[in-house]
Subunit: 377 residues, 2 copies
Amino acid sequence: MTPGPTPVPPEVLLAQASPMIHHRAPIYTEIILEVLEDLKYVFQTKNDIIMFASSGTGAMESAVANCFSAGDKVLVVSIGNFGARWAKISEAYGLNVTLLDYEWGTKADPADIEKALAADPDLKGVLVTHSETSTGVVNDIETMGAIVAKTPAIFIVDAISGLGASDMQTDNWNVDVCVAGSQKALMTPPGLAFASVSDKAWQAVETSTLPKFYFDYKKSRDALHKAEPQSPFTPAVSTILGLAVALKMIREETLENVFARHHVNAAATRAGVKALGLELFGTEDPNAHSVTAVKAPGDVDGQAIVKSLRVKYGITTAGGQGKIKGKIFRIGHCGYYDKFDILSLLAGLEMALVGLGHEVTAGAGVAAAEQVFEANS
Amino acid sequence: MTPGPTPVPPEVLLAQASPMIHHRAPIYTEIILEVLEDLKYVFQTKNDIIMFASSGTGAMESAVANCFSAGDKVLVVSIGNFGARWAKISEAYGLNVTLLDYEWGTKADPADIEKALAADPDLKGVLVTHSETSTGVVNDIETMGAIVAKTPAIFIVDAISGLGASDMQTDNWNVDVCVAGSQKALMTPPGLAFASVSDKAWQAVETSTLPKFYFDYKKSRDALHKAEPQSPFTPAVSTILGLAVALKMIREETLENVFARHHVNAAATRAGVKALGLELFGTEDPNAHSVTAVKAPGDVDGQAIVKSLRVKYGITTAGGQGKIKGKIFRIGHCGYYDKFDILSLLAGLEMALVGLGHEVTAGAGVAAAEQVFEANS
């Protein structure tokens, strides 16, 4: 129960174990076209989606390398570790970064973006995180998108841990490049990353002079729009076979129901944690469905809780990253989870806390979560 | 029987279907350390090996982006499509490329590299292909390495389709960056790429100013040399679980026996093809174990042979790439193949040729290959 890689359904694992197929054979073309259609459903977009054999960071880098040129001014909005990554990538490529840096645990204020864009009409892009994995907080992409759409800037969103868990309407919310990965709510092993590219972004791609080859959007688009659609380089075939099954599962459940299931799982987790007397880290947000960040109680280190859960109870959670390491622990509930996963986690947490000498009422967390599940059944 | 992705042993496919593990958990560290040790055995190197979730081209790009700076002069040695890719990547990164371009089907002459390096002491690197997938030809890396080692230039070798099939002694042959992928002789699905980095190459990395983030060698090295070795970004966990099994299979068979098996499979394929009256494309080379390129007979197009084999007989081979499309077809025998795969391919080829109206003595190809297998049993 980390924020990812997340558990993979057996159907997806078995699809991955299918015999290898050749990526220049017609059967591959059929599969990839269906996968890309299903991805568009999850991205809620009509735009082309570019797929890479890489982790999510590769697709983040692709957005920077394809949309900008050295020295371009960009606004990076950071509310945690992965927002900071946008700044690092942009700086690695020689962009001129204006950083809107918020305290970890808080949301970005769209009005600040509006002010920054008004103050500097040369800003060529706004880079932001949808669901910030390090803190569990989800940004208001809809409001931000409406603001950026009025300017010439490209709106680039890292939706790696949020897409398919919390609502993320790429087209309706004016997102020009939406980046995601296979290993979070898409319930597939890591190794695939995606970037949807709007018409406005394609115009930026045409003038970009930053060096790129493997992550070159134009190469991917040209291969995709051949009579027999292909990828420019050897794709991660097995992972794609798995993804194809996972996407069908999402379509069958429907995005609406997937979001609702995530919502209840997140609400039950938070109710359970609070019933154990623990405090949530950061702004509590009913739309944040991927991760619950919890403050470690004063008498126990966050890393010790993670270790006890793993070693004594076989439950993998995550500690804090960067400057909040030890102060929090994080429970992932993004992807293939149902109520008994949440209840097991809370039971394990109760036992771990007792074992670490922290006083809790055993059963109180589970009971509170049960109430949430019953109220939503 | 394409030059890749190659067939994956069931043991490897099943390992891929194992439940997901978290890449920051101790169990992952154990696995990755063993995988990296086993990779060093296959690379025949003591150098660090950097692993990426990407296809082989990503690792090729990593070598360029990490070893050079804009405007650096490099010598690209091309004997086919993948040699040409070195030039394209180098040019995308603003390097100043001197191209040694050989006719497709021939080998590069190491003496030409010696001359080029003597003529221009500013050359910062030599980029070459080990096994050229588009033509089946293998370059003389050993002689080239001895020449480049006497200069300050970095010797970078694309061994994607050759590593684990034909001998490739990274350290003994003075290869500074050796690039490989999971989906060829390593018998694993595509999605992982590797680069071994020598001390000489690390010195170049220190002064390189080209932009990079996802493919940054220093980030990978720093993560790898932590107390609990990690990767900087989410690794392709399932593919790594598969690779771990494939590498154990190679160690058990031993590299020597793996090369010998490839040698006999290649020799039998070529004997069979010739017994059918077909001509090999390019220089025949007893060390070229990955691919056999065959000239299409005058009365049949190469693509038609590939299509007939696929549609009528369920055997996937590859056509010609680029300027020799239609003129040749390619049989891959790199990786998880044994004699009956080769014999089946030759039987299929006999039937396909007859079906396409080309006169052959049915059984002659299979018989010639049987003789090679018997002589080597």
